[in-house]
């Protein structure tokens, strides 16, 4: 059997270098077969064949097998500042050509860190893009964080039309005055029949408002999943286009307000595609979300959360008008980093509001 294997490989022009597999194969053969082989090896034809093969092998140089120790090592990605010195000390910065995830619940400092990273990137003269799934970016906060707004591309995802159609809500301080524009107020016309809702409003205005809010919440629950899907589709397609376009120093996907259940609908293949798209490019791909969703595709995973709630101490007896929200203390846990093998550790940093001075 061994000779047969050797002859086949020789006929194909690939001389064997390692015979370990062949030996193992021979060892596993039944005893009868081995006896046959021994007889075959002793036959003159087999000997002639073997000598011919050896001659041929000596003429052909053996194929070079690169040992694992000499395999080309993928160079470590360039690390750039995240804009927060504490995070830089923790992670070494944000890796270029990699996917970085920032996770955390509301008020955990995700957006602050995102804006700091954007500010640092624009200070370096890079162009950045934010694909905003919930249209949540606050321009004033971005400007206060030091983001060069001329270098920031903002893609605002979400359905505008459906909101206008379905929602009776009205943003504060619009030209509409009470009794002139809302649907509820429009129902009762002068001289017309008095509706049940208007009677209820007169009897208990607070109850009507409560009912309205809960009815809207129920409606929102129903339409939420559809809107989330639509937004996700927009986010993923816009990100694909931006990655394809190239030239951006940082592309951020803001999925912070998206429910984790909805965010999990993103197939893992999409994250693999994104990771491949940014690989070997100077682009930093950053996602902001409530829970990790990219799995092993992310090179850096930071879990953010509140370090303490001293800012919101309920025991504080100072009058409300004498208090000031001066900032938040953020705790950042390094959950995963492909770039070093240090154990998970955390760091605390403080943010301060724009008016805190």
């Amino acid at each position: 059997m061994s000779s047969a294997v050797v002859s086949t490989s020789a006929a194909l022009g690939r001389p064997f270098v390692f015979d370990a597999d062949a030996d193992a194969e021979v060892r596993s053969l039944p005893v009868a077969n081995r006896r046959d082989q021994a007889e075959a090896q002793e036959s003159p034809i087999a000997r002639i064949l073997q000598s011919t093969i050896k001659n041929q092998q000596s003429k052909i140089p053996p194929a070079r097998v690169t040992p694992a120790s000499q395999l080309e090592i993928r160079p470590a990605p360039e690390m750039v500042s995240s804009g927060v010195p504490a995070i830089d000390a923790l992670t070494g910065g944000l890796p270029r050509g990699c996917l970085t995830e920032l996770c955390g619940p509301a008020s955990s400092g995700r957006t602050t860190l995102l804006l700091a990273a954007l500010a640092a990137a624009t200070r370096r003269g890079e162009f950045c893009a934010v694909v905003d799934a919930s249209d949540a970016l606050d321009p004033q906060s971005a400007a206060a964080a030091g983001v060069d707004l001329e270098r920031l591309l903002w893609v605002r995802c979400g359905e505008d039309l459906s909101r206008k159609k379905n929602s009776p809500r009205r943003p504060p301080s619009t030209p509409l005055r009470a009794g002139s524009g809302t649907e509820e107020n429009g129902n009762q016309k002068e001289g017309g029949p008095i509706s049940r809702s208007s009677l209820a409003r007169e009897a208990c205005p607070e109850l009507v408002e409560w009912v309205g809010i809960f009815a809207q919440a129920t409606f929102d629950d129903r339409t939420n999943s559809r809107q989330s899907e639509h937004r996700l589709e927009q986010v993923l397609r816009a990100t694909d286009l931006l990655l394809e376009s190239g030239g951006f120093g940082l592309i951020a996907l803001d999925l912070g307000d998206l429910q984790p259940q909805a965010a999990r609908h993103i197939p893992l293949t999409t994250w693999f595609r994104f990771r491949r798209a940014v690989e070997y490019t100077p682009t930093i791909l950053l996602t902001v979300e409530q829970r990790p969703i990219a799995g092993s595709c992310s090179s850096l995973l930071l879990q953010l959360g509140p370090a303490d709630r001293s800012a919101a101490d309920p025991e504080n007896t100072t009058p409300a008008h004498a208090r000031l929200l001066t900032g938040l203390n953020i705790n950042a846990d390094l959950i995963r980093s492909r770039l070093d093998r240090k154990p998970a550790r955390s760091v605390v940093f403080a943010t301060k509001t724009a008016w805190a001075g």
Partner: protein, 535 residues
């Protein structure tokens, strides 16, 4: 002083072929006149080989099934003429518009710039071909000799100085009267006089220019007068005159009239591609680019009104404004396709008119050590695609407005070229502190707030994440503005910490689901709103 002449033979046919290059291998005839009295005025070689001649009626020509018939188009001819002038002006600033099919160039001093005269001639020929015109190019020491050579010899001809008579000699005498014999350019009397002169020369046995040049001047003057002497000077290549230069207006327009209306975007894109390539070739020949493309579609039955486009007399106009001057037909085509996808004309199209506003091409060189930036062409396509996805006003750069009004910003076009700021007065500090960011809800969430001593203590909102007991509050901070306008606003802002009961048991919150929000009380409209969370 050398002069070059670019002559496009069979101009109506050349204009039609320029508009429809796929007709090149086919037999083609151009029709003119009002139906049903249309007659053929120009045919190509293949059509001539099939027995089609000028003067045949349309009914006669239609007997030949393989023949392609096209009506004479003034639009196509004017575009071809503009392209001819563009070609000429790309080689010399001194250009004479001798006829619609002829352009004369003064090549004095151009040899040191563009090479020898044969090289320049070949370059002119190639440039004309690139612009869709199959032209004859001739170079001679005087303009008229160049014109005669271009009209008489196909391809590229270079006549050395002093050898004009020898080179022009074999040409037939008809080349002297090409302009006069063309019916549409001259009055009837001039045409008759030219025909009479040609007949006289023919009667004398003078069939070519060599014969005319050899005639004794005095005798010729006695018989034909000053016109005879002028013709002899032309035949000898000795006529001398100065050019009358024209400044071709920087108008880059191409049009196509359709026999059958178009209802689908795909065939329209095919035609747009052709027009864009022609316009880009013309712009390129003048070392220009464009920053604005104007597409005018004439519609068959204009009924559906599209408010976003400018409508004037059954026309559908779309204007494509670019942030930077560009010259890439493929990019333009894709942008127009995306634009038409978003704003369809709404009726069959019978005529397409495309105009480009010329602009100087951008001259920017990226530094070796500068960070990379998106390529403008790619970026423009990407932005157009994203705009198609999320909406036109939903993608771009931010611009803060000089107001304290909430949401005081506007979206503007994102351009990947930022003007350099002076290093002395930087707008952004080098290392700003970490500023707490606000995540906005758009639109703000309407909330029901329970008040205690005028302070919020409990909040109910349609969003489950943002409701619960108010643990901590700071405020109110009163803001108001624009009270002198209809859009006046006045509000009280609270910064609150919410104990969120809905998330209390969530593993993520670790039993400590506190979020900081901005609560707004609208003093004019009434009602409470959660404007965003500090994050």
């Amino acid at each position: 002083m050398p002069f070059a002449c670019i002559y496009v033979p069979n101009f109506p046919l050349a204009a039609a072929l320029r508009a429809e290059p796929e007709l090149q291998p086919r037999a083609l005839a151009i029709l003119e006149g009002k139906p049903p009295l249309e007659t053929i005025i120009a045919v190509n070689e293949k059509a001539a080989g099939m027995g089609i001649t000028s003067g045949m009626t349309k009914a006669q020509a239609e007997l030949c099934a393989e023949l392609a018939l096209r009506p004479r188009s003034a639009l196509q001819e004017s575009a071809a003429h503009a392209a001819l002038l563009d070609c000429a002006q790309s080689f010399s600033p001194c250009v004479e518009d001798a006829a619609c099919d002829t352009a004369l160039l003064d090549l004095a001093g151009m040899e040191s710039l563009l090479g020898s005269l044969p090289e320049i001639s070949r370059a002119i020929y190639s440039r004309a071909a690139a612009l869709g015109l199959e032209a004859n190019v001739a170079v001679a020491s005087n303009p008229d000799a160049a014109v005669l050579a271009a009209r008489g010899f196909a391809g590229v001809t270079v006549i050395p100085a002093g050898k004009e008579a020898e080179q022009l000699g074999p040409l037939p005498t008809e080349v002297l009267f090409v302009n006069h014999l063309q019916e549409d350019r001259r009055e009837g009397d001039e045409k008759k006089a030219a025909a009479r002169l040609l007949e006289t020369l023919d009667r004398w046995g003078i069939r070519n220019l060599r014969g005319l040049a050899a005639l004794p001047e005095v005798s010729l003057s006695e018989r034909l007068g000053q016109e005879g002497l002028r013709l002899q000077q032309l035949a000898r290549g000795a006529a001398s005159r100065t050019l009358v230069p024209v400044e071709a207006p920087p108008v880059f327009e191409e049009s196509v009239e359709l026999e059958h209306s178009i209802v689908l975007l795909e065939p329209l894109a095919f035609l747009l591609n052709r027009l864009l390539e022609q316009i880009c070739a013309r712009l390129g020949s003048r070392a220009l680019a464009t920053q604005e493309l104007r597409l005018t579609l004439e519609l068959e039955n204009f009924s559906a009104l599209n408010r976003q486009s400018v409508i004037n007399n059954q026309q559908f106009v779309r204007t494509l404004r670019l942030p930077l001057p560009m010259l890439d037909a493929k990019v333009f085509l894709k942008l127009l396709q995306l634009d038409l996808n978003a704003h369809p004309p709404g009726a069959p199209i019978v005529k397409i008119h495309l105009a480009a506003e010329p602009a100087r091409p951008r001259s920017a060189q990226a530094g070796l050590f500068l960070p990379p930036s998106p390529e403008p062409e790619k970026l423009e396509l990407t932005l157009a695609r994203i705009a198609g996805l999320v909406g036109e006003n939903k993608v771009g750069a931010l611009e803060l407005l000089d107001t304290h009004r909430p949401e005081g910003f506007r979206m503007r076009r994102f351009v990947a070229e930022v003007p350099r700021k002076s290093s002395k007065t930087p707008d952004v500090p080098e290392e700003p502190s970490i500023v707490t960011a606000l995540r906005r809800f758009r639109p703000p969430l309407r909330a029901h707030v329970t008040l205690e001593n005028g302070q919020p203590t409990h909040l109910v909102c349609q969003k489950k994440d943002v409701q619960g007991e108010v643990l901590w509050r700071a405020g109110p901070w009163r803001f108001s503005g624009d009270w002198w306008e209809r859009e006046a606003w006045s509000r009280d802002e609270w910064d609150i910490a919410l104990q969120n009961n809905a998330l209390q048991n969530d593993a993520l919150s670790n039993g400590d689901a506190i979020s900081f929000c901005r609560l707004v009380h609208d003093l004019l409209g009434g009602g409470w709103f959660v404007e965003g969370t500090y994050d």
